[in-house]
């Protein structure tokens, strides 16, 4: 009889479900597919998505785009990129004015900026007074002014899984000491520090500082590491709002680093708070719960579903920019000029790993902005006679608008310079590389796989970066001719001739009589990559070279690159800052992957190029710099160590209730400028998402008919017996 008991249990569960279903049908009669809680409608919330959970949120450790999406809105470094002005220009963020730079010689005498023997440069930064941190329990104090949550026991932490679970919070004014503190953290040996290598070359004493900290940690492994007790030579605290950074030599690009969260303020309270025992076990770390002074703070952190940024109530130091071009003004981008930032109360990031749901939710109005995958391109975008792009009529009716920009990044295919077949500066290998460069038709690649959202690259330097040339001056003369005012790819006959000259007529090695086989390494294991590889194979077939694609997982790929065990490989680079140095250094031999573990994955080396690079890297942008860069690019064209690939273009679609969106590929702290018209959004969502009822009716009727039929059949059967 236990069995019937079981049955009752099941039917009870069924009943519960049925009541749910009824409620659901009655309450949400107009829109059923709203993925957000109903009470959130009408609020000034921006809805967006993230595709990958961020690994680090600690400003000393985070370095990838998907991490910056969050933390650059939470932390406020001294500088930022101007939201509207082009070309990109640095302006103050937390700094009260742009840093003043003084150049010194070896004996600390002041020099002029053009002097040749600059030994040190000193950056003096004044920060705005009165900026305050987000509310956080680390700042909470009791009546005596002592920290409330500093000596917590495990029982105090029992029900606590987020900073929001603490009863009290506090705040404090940001001081210059916090900025100094963070620079010291860039040498903390306990952290994974992506820019320690670069910074230790420039910031005076940073390398020794890392050594000091290492020793301290070895001596007192269990104690809290108080950075204040150990001074850093190159960073000097002047007063509450001023600090100085001393650099080795001249390094004008340093200002760009000051716009990255690496140089944001870090309050000592937060470090002490998170260093308490038991915190790490509850995922309470600085890497997980940032403590910043920027426009937003992280109020919900569940990277399995959603992350929420809320307005930092203590933030009042910034206003919407009032300068911008005429076209910005026409586009309404200056309508909010002078308003206190941020303009929205909350940003909800939802995890969306798959592109299909992402795109559909955007069309249904549940995301405010979206990129376009190449698969949905024709649905969204039309290209008119002039080659200009605009949104399709259907999208236009929905009020969707499009903004485009060329990303400061480059996607290339490298030849391994150390490989005996395709690498090296011999005439044979050079001709082979040049032939391949002609054969691989990146215009076609861009048109098939990116729907034209990209520019076939002529050199490592993308448009919008100093040193890039448009038009005939900018073409790669090895691959293209300039015919009738247009860039034209050289013919396949030319490529075949080069192959023959290199000693592989018809793709067969003259010496060994073996067909020429070249390996391409990729990490392409994901969806849709097969077609890319097929395409690549087709390109090589054109000049009778056999391409073997070896796709491996990411680890193996990295390993091969590091060992130099490749012939060709796919790679890409995203600029840290808009300076040609950040692209040309990818081919500097001192950066060679195999020899030095650097970023020159092709292991390219050319003494003249290296020499020119050293000369160019710390120059200010000037005609002289341009001449050097032109010569460097010319060397690269001839040597062809990469197939230059393409520079992707960013297309962003946004709904008409979202305002002030201006593509800015350098700045990732854009959210504070955006504004949302929530009531318009609600009414449009209602319009677009009427559930379709007829299948329900048909299904219901069918079900009733089936049941009736079965009953009759059963009855007949019983009767027959």
């Amino acid at each position: 009889m236990t069995h019937s008991g079981n049955f009752q249990l099941h039917s009870r569960a069924m009943n519960k479900n049925l009541t749910y279903l009824l409620c659901f049908l009655l309450c949400a009669c107009d829109v059923w597919n709203n993925p957000y809680p109903a009470q959130d409608s009408g609020k000034s919330i921006l809805y967006t998505a993230f595709t990958e959970r961020p690994k680090h949120l600690d400003p000393a450790q985070a370095y990838s785009e998907n991490e910056y999406e969050f933390i650059s809105n939470i932390y406020a470094p001294p500088l930022q990129y101007h939201y509207l002005k082009r070309p990109y220009q640095l302006v103050e963020q937390a700094a009260a004015s742009m840093p003043s730079v003084t150049y010194l010689d070896e004996h600390h005498h002041v020099l002029s900026a053009t002097a040749t023997k600059i030994a040190y440069s000193v950056y003096e930064i004044h920060i705005k007074p009165g900026m305050r941190y987000q509310p956080h329990p680390a700042f909470a104090r009791d009546v005596n002014g002592l920290p409330l949550y500093l000596h917590l026991t495990t029982s105090d932490l029992r029900d606590i899984h987020a900073p929001g679970d603490f009863l009290h919070t506090g705040t404090r004014v940001v001081t210059a000491l916090d900025y100094v503190n963070q620079i010291k953290r860039l040498a903390d040996p306990r952290l994974h520090l992506p820019i320690y290598g670069v910074m230790s070359e420039y910031i005076v004493g940073l390398k020794d500082y890392a050594g000091t900290l290492q020793q301290v940690l070895k001596k007192h492994p269990d104690e809290y590491l108080d950075l204040n007790r150990y001074p850093l030579l190159g960073v000097e605290l002047i007063n509450d709002t001023t600090y100085r950074i001393t650099l080795q030599g001249k390094y004008p690009q340093f200002a760009y680093w000051l716009a990255m969260p690496f140089f944001a303020p870090m309050p000592e309270e937060a470090l002490r708070f998170y260093a308490q025992p038991g915190m790490q076990a509850r995922n309470l770390t600085l890497d997980w719960w940032p403590v910043g002074s920027g426009p937003f703070y992280l109020s919900e952190n569940d990277p399995n579903t959603r992350m929420v940024l809320s307005r930092n109530p203590n933030f009042n130091s910034e206003y919407y920019p009032s300068e911008g071009s005429n076209s910005d003004k026409q586009a309404g981008l200056l309508a909010d000029a002078g308003h206190s930032l941020p303009l929205i109360d909350q940003v909800v990031f939802t995890l969306e790993k798959e592109t299909i749901p992402y795109w559909n939710k955007f069309l249904q109005g549940y995301y405010d902005a979206s990129g376009i995958s190449s698969d949905s391109f024709d649905q969204a975008v039309q290209v008119n006679v002039g080659g200009e792009t605009r949104v399709s009529d259907e999208m236009k009716q929905q009020g969707i608008t499009l903004s485009t920009s060329v990303a400061t990044s480059t996607m290339y295919t490298g030849f391994n310079w150390l490989d005996p077949v395709v690498g090296g500066s011999s005439l044979r290998a050079t001709k082979l590389r040049q032939a391949i460069a002609i054969a691989v038709d990146y215009e076609e690649f861009v048109s098939i796989f990116a729907n034209g959202r990209g520019i076939a690259a002529q050199s490592p330097i993308p448009p919008g970066i100093f040193g890039h040339h448009e038009g005939s001056a900018g073409i790669n003369p090895i691959v293209y001719d300039w015919i009738d005012g247009q860039r034209t790819r050289k013919s396949l006959a030319q490529a075949k001739r080069l192959i023959a000259e290199a000693g592989y007529p018809d793709g067969v090695d003259v010496k060994t009589h073996q067909p020429l086989v070249i390996n391409l390494d990729t990490t392409a294991t994901g969806v849709g990559n097969k077609s890319r590889l097929d395409w690549m194979r087709k390109q090589f077939d054109k000049i009778n070279i056999q391409l073997v694609v070896r796709s491996t997982d990411y680890n193996r790929f990295q390993d091969k690159i590091r060992r130099g065990d490749t012939q060709m490989f796919y790679y890409g680079w995203n600029a840290d800052y808009p300076d040609p140095e950040n692209f040309l250094f990818l081919l500097h031999s001192a950066q060679a992957k195999v020899a030095h573990g650097g970023e020159n994955a092709a292991n390219y080396s050319n003494p003249e190029y290296d020499q020119l690079f050293e000369k160019m890297k710390n120059m200010e942008n000037s005609p002289e710099r341009q001449i050097i860069i032109d010569r460097m690019v010319e060397i690269l064209h001839y040597d062809s160590p990469w197939l230059w690939g393409y520079h992707p273009k960013n297309y962003v679609l946004q709904h008409n209730w979202l305002h002030n969106v201006q593509p800015n590929v350098m700045a990732s702290n854009k959210l504070k400028y955006w504004r949302v018209d929530a009531s318009l959004r609600d009414s449009l969502r209602l319009d677009w998402n009427h559930p379709v009822f007829w299948p329900l009716w048909i299904g219901g009727v069918a079900l009733v008919l089936v049941f009736a039929g079965l009953r009759r059949a059963l009855k007949r059967r019983e009767d027959m017996k």
Binding site: W32, P35, S64, D559
Partner: protein, 323 residues
Amino acid sequence: MIAYLIRRILYAIPILIGVNLLTFALFFVVNTPDDMARMQLGIKRVTPEAIEHWKEQHGYNKPLLVNRGVKGIGKITDTIFWQKSASMFVLDFGFSDDGRSISREIYTRMGPSMAIALPTFIIGLLCYVSFALLMTLFRATALDIAGVSLCVVLMSISGLFYIIGGQFLISKLWHWVPISGYGEGAFKFIVLPVVIGVVSGIGSSSRWYRSIFLEEIGKDYVRTARAKGLSELRVLFTHVLKNASIPILTGVVVVIPLLFMGSLLTESFFGIPGLGNYTIDAINAQDFSIVRAMVFLGSLLYIAGLILTDISYTVVDPRVRLT
């Protein structure tokens, strides 16, 4: 019975040790700690020092099985295997390779997993059993043949198609439920995955139950019952269903604890933050700690399922005694 249970539980220990050793061997042949470090540290500017440092921080700088550098008990305990695997027997899963508590993660993710798996299981069982009963009732008629053919067709379709088709029709064309996601008001998020889960299993399960029922219905006691003049429906529900429950239980109870692990496909297609999704992510990110924890948990639950099955026999059939 208690003695039996204790014996079963003791017997589980060597199996779990075997599972642990096997996965450990597999994963350390695949991934050296260097690989793991590189995976976790990201793309830009990774130095060999950073890798060494990461390994030290996460305890992967030790020898795999035997530490020759240490004397005494440390020879065995100061190794990766001991430190990363032995602790699992007390359900301490430690931290994932990106530094977050695995136990906490399992704790927060089991809710969503269960929210999908449990309704799918219960509704599915009800549907399959009723459908099978229906086919049994109308056995050897056109209805039965149509039902069986439908089952065979349904079970010949890959599960991927059910998900793709369901999402397309119900979410995209008809706007009935959100296309993916999970959150407040979970009901609207779980309807579609549950429906698809139930439909995709209908073919094979119903057919299986039908064959069980058919076997029962051929037995003598059923003939006797029928001869006594009981109606066909009554025979089916009181006798056949009851007696068929032992073979059904054998297949069904074993999976109940495993429901907890969630479904890999459904969860990743619908973006449900459950344990199945967690596992797929871990496989893709090659997070050894998580996969090891999930493998251990899976084996543990499987063994629990076996024990549960035995117990359920005694509940259904009092003649069965566990000794």
